[in-house]
């Protein structure tokens, strides 16, 4: 990194941040509309999520101690930093710093901040929610990591933009979706777990533990949490897109791929019930992990799909 390029890089990072917020928040609204049509309803306006966030920011906030306030800031800061490192089409804010493991570690800062803040609110349901969220994380991280390590092993690089560039060499046929379909299925199931979509909605469970970690949030803190939620969806879907769908070379490709992944996940969520937490772990450690190991063996030992 050359030092006199730093201001420009930070500006690019902020632009990516702004784009991520407006894109994902609009898309969340559009997805709510699509889901509503799926229920034979009319649905809200596409900019409903902006209204919700602004409304929350204009309300009064109650504090439950400094751990609670600091945790929200730490979570939002960690997630925003992760977004700034994300390659977006041809733009990378910090070239050479888009290694896959950077996202894994930076993303954990956000998740831990969230956990700290929720437990700091002192509500037992928040504690249960955080415990479930972290347990679920242990569930989906292992199969997801096995698939991603197989990809890294196969392609010989762990840079996200290079992985995307490798997949863009020969059009659709060089996507990992085509080359490693079994691993893609496993990773997509893990993506559902990351997004907290319905079979794996256990840590939110509004009817059971009153929305889990969010139980004591209101007003401004909940607004920040909503923004954080939009950013984390952006990170998760972008990671999946870059790893399996060949990234995005142009805005149209980006929009189509991103929407396809997110809308599909949301629609699956609408057709599912909710697992209990022990069922989540048992499921992740049976089917996705078996698929992931099968794919890893095919890639690493048999050399298929590289």
């Amino acid at each position: 990194m050359v030092i006199n390029q730093l201001p420009l890089q930070i500006l690019t990072g902020l632009a990516i941040l702004a784009f991520a917020f407006f894109w994902q928040t609009s898309l969340s609204g559009i997805t709510r509309k699509i889901v509503a049509r799926y229920h034979k309803r009319y649905g809200p306006k596409w900019y409903q999520e902006f209204r919700d966030i602004f409304k929350l920011m204009s309300k009064t906030g109650v504090t439950h101690g400094w751990v609670y306030d600091f945790g929200v800031m730490m979570a939002l800061g960690g997630i925003m930093a992760t977004v700034m490192f994300m390659p977006l089409m041809k733009f990378t804010a910090f070239p050479g710093f888009d290694n896959f493991f950077i996202y894994v570690y930076l993303f954990a800062v956000g998740m831990l901040g969230m956990a700290m803040s929720a437990v700091g609110s002192g509500n037992p349901l928040a504690g249960i929610g955080v415990m479930r969220a972290l347990t679920q994380m242990v569930g989906y991280e292992v199969p997801f990591m096995i698939v991603v390590l197989a990809i890294i092993n196969g392609h010989g690089t762990s840079s996200l933009s290079q992985l995307a560039a490798i997949q863009q060499q020969a059009g659709v046929l060089s996507w990992n979706l085509v080359k490693m379909p079994i691993g893609t299925v496993a990773a997509f199931i893990c993506l559902l777990g990351m997004l907290g979509k319905k079979p794996f909605e256990t840590f939110i469970a509004p009817a059971e533990i009153a929305s889990g970690p969010m139980v004591e949030y209101g007003g401004k803190q909940l607004g920040m949490l909503m923004i954080l939620h939009q950013f984390s969806i952006f990170i998760e879907v972008s990671l999946f897109m870059n790893l399996f769908l060949g990234g995005a070379a142009n805005p149209l490709g980006f929009a189509l791929k991103y929407m396809a992944v997110y809308v599909l996940a949301s629609l699956i969520s609408q057709a599912m019930g909710r697992f209990k937490i022990d069922q989540v772990i048992k499921f992740f450690y049976k089917i996705p992990i078996a698929l992931a190991i099968l794919q890893a063996v095919m890639v690493v030992y048999l050399g298929w799909g590289v």
């Binding site: 509503a36 809200p44 306006k45 602004f54 204009s58 929305s211 969010m214």
Partner: protein, 185 residues
Amino acid sequence: MATADKEKKLKEGWEGISRFFRANSLWMLMYCTGCCAIELPQAMTSRYDMERLGMGPMATPRQADVLLVTGYLSVKTLRRVIYAYEQMSTPKYIVAFGPCTINGGIYHDAATVIKSLDQYLPIDVYIAGCMPKPEAVMNGFQDLIDMIKDKTADGWKRYRDNYDWYKQNQIESLGELRIKDEYHE
């Protein structure tokens, strides 16, 4: 003087924008111990689709903007409603369903049921009917949205300004306001 004027104008402008967003994003806390609650599923699902007004159910009082009190409240449940209402962050609104919240309705001669809810909590909108049809429910919510837009939904301000009066009424009916905290005792 000029700067004070400017500040006032700025604040009013900000309030105007905030009101627009608040009116179109109402999150509900449903205190559904009364029978009028049975009319809410129709209003929420595909027949009347409350979500097109930007409304949605929320899990806890902290997250919610509107408290729906669907029908009668006994002395025991009133205490919980007051607790839930005081946990909500301002601005907050109450929508009361049916005649039970106005004068006790069919429970007008019951010893354990409170008769007039607005003695204890400030009500913004009453919805008539026993039970109100989903059309009436949707109409009530539309009224609430219009009231928020033209600044007349000020129940939370009335509660803040007349807090002593409300508190006195609450204590007269309930004896004490404390709820046993099962988690920390």
